[in-house]
Amino acid sequence: MEDVVTESPPPSRFFQEDLDNFATPPPPLPPPLLLLDPKLGPDHIRPPLLIVALSAPSLAVLHRIPHKILIGTLILPETPLAGNSLEPCPRDRSCYIYAVDHRPASAVLVAVQFPVAAERARAVAKSLLGAIQAERVLIFGSIGSQNYRGRLAVDETLAFKLETVEERSGGQPLVQGVDYLPSGSVMDGLGAAVIAECQMRRAKGTLVATWPANGRSTVVPIIRSLLQGLSIDVGASDADDEFDAGWSFSSRYVSDLYT
């Protein structure tokens, strides 16, 4: 049973120290380092579509996409790289940037395989969208139970979306057949930072939020269907898809003690 004295306050409540004007500011961190292949042409820096995969199901789908080419990476200096492999691996604590040039669709894919602290999310979003100026941005994130104001059952699959003003008013939406996130519920973290940055730049952006966070057997088909609707070849489906990608799984095994 949780200790009622020390347990986290419910959402939208503050610890006193969070409101303290005199709390020590966090130490400054170096900016995120985004490295792109210098031989890239403008098509990759200004693609028609940028897809950012944050959730475990979306990372699982992204890693199965065929014909993708590794074109870059984003490094956060505070994220330890111990245990990462030389070749891209879905279990690495890395952020891989791929290009898909398979006609008729082309896109840049970003697989964010490490947790990004909320305090760093804005900087990461600015790095990504500053370097890759897509016509449209699609982000896949997970609904956080602490941020959702309805009931979340572990055996229920949910998918909602949020769109920038420009996406909503720009004709046919990128993502169809998905309801808007109910009013009162929120998304935070890197997904929120990326779509907020899209809005500040007046760009077309869509955030798709799914539940459960690790619902590969139920959420993966939804994501595959959405990408297929955008003419993205998502490769063959695997009925057993126990393909574990992303930090939420790998964090159980990764430790700086073991390399």
Binding site: F22, T24, R122, A123, R168, Y180, S183, V186, D188, A196
Partner: protein, 281 residues
């Protein structure tokens, strides 16, 4: 702090007053601003991007239907018929960055030519020195009009000056120096002594906003109420009502509808989570 205008919108020159929430116990300031935006029919005019704010997005908070209008952490609204600009803040400030945030917000408010800043916030009722029968209905204030925080307009409206505002007190003094750029966190005096009661108030976000706006030469009024954590909707009504009194607005006529009255924001339907699962019974 960057400001982006919403497509087709401009900041009005006819809105000399601006309302801001100060993060606080019960989120009362934010709830009060929600209520005022919803009730005045204020329209969003732009988005603010602030590095010290944590990211957070959602669907339209006001309705009447959730049509998918993206809500960002810091947004500016205006209601020219009420000569009022409002800023709503939906996410917390990074720990330790409150003064930085307050300075940036004060710079922005000053840059758009506002004349009067009204900060809505709340205080922990556990901190009250004495409890009187009507203390839970009393609205307190701090004003930049006089050095001691006093303002005759507020007194006339029945607000009570916050006695714990003492610009000579060590932490209020230090906060003013931070706001005026005369020092920084690295020069913080040693406050190793046990915190005393009066250290609570200058440590709160409303105090940072007050000091930073005052340092920019703006007229500032903080409206405060004591409350406890819980269902703070009633507290937000009290604070919003006080703001209307200060602005000489009539709550019954805010929305312009014949039936008048407050317009409850759509997002409040689930502000404290879903109703209990009745299938248990």
């Amino acid at each position: 702090m960057e400001f982006t205008l919403e497509e087709g919108r401009n900041l009005s020159a006819d809105c000399p007053s601006i309302l801001l929430p100060g993060l606080s116990i019960g989120n009362v300031g934010q709830l009060a601003v929600d209520l005022l935006i919803s009730s005045t029919g204020a329209k969003r005019v732009g988005f603010l991007d602030e590095p010290s704010l944590l990211p957070c997005v959602g669907n339209d908070a006001y309705g009447p239907e959730p049509e998918g209008v993206l809500a960002l952490p810091l947004e500016a609204y205006e209601s020219p018929p009420h000569a009022l600009t409002l800023i709503q803040q939906r996410s917390p400030v990074i720990k330790g960055m409150m003064v930085e945030f307050a300075k940036n917000l004060a710079d922005f408010v000053s840059s758009i030519g506002k004349k009067h800043v009204i900060i809505l916030s709340s205080l922990d009722s556990g901190r009250m020195k004495k409890i009187v029968a009507s203390s839970d209905m009393q609205v307190y204030y701090v004003s930049s009009t006089n050095n001691d925080g006093n303002d005759s307009d507020c007194e006339r409206l029945g607000f009570k000056r916050l006695e714990e505002y003492d610009p000579t007190q060590r932490r209020w003094k230090y906060l003013n120096e931070l706001a005026e750029g005369k020092t920084d966190h690295e020069d913080e005096p040693s406050f190793e002594d046990e915190l005393v009661h009066d250290d609570y108030y200058p440590g709160l976000p409303f105090a940072a906003l007050f000091s930073c706006c005052k340092a920019k030469g703006l007229k500032v009024t903080c409206l405060l109420c004591y409350c406890s954590e819980g269902d703070n909707i009633a507290d937000s009504f009290q604070l919003a009502d006080a703001a209307c009194k200060l602005l000489r607005l009539t709550p019954d006529k805010l929305s312009g509808h014949v039936e008048g009255g407050w317009n409850i924001p759509l997002s409040w339907q689930s502000v404290y989570g879903p109703p209990p699962d009745m299938s248990l019974f």
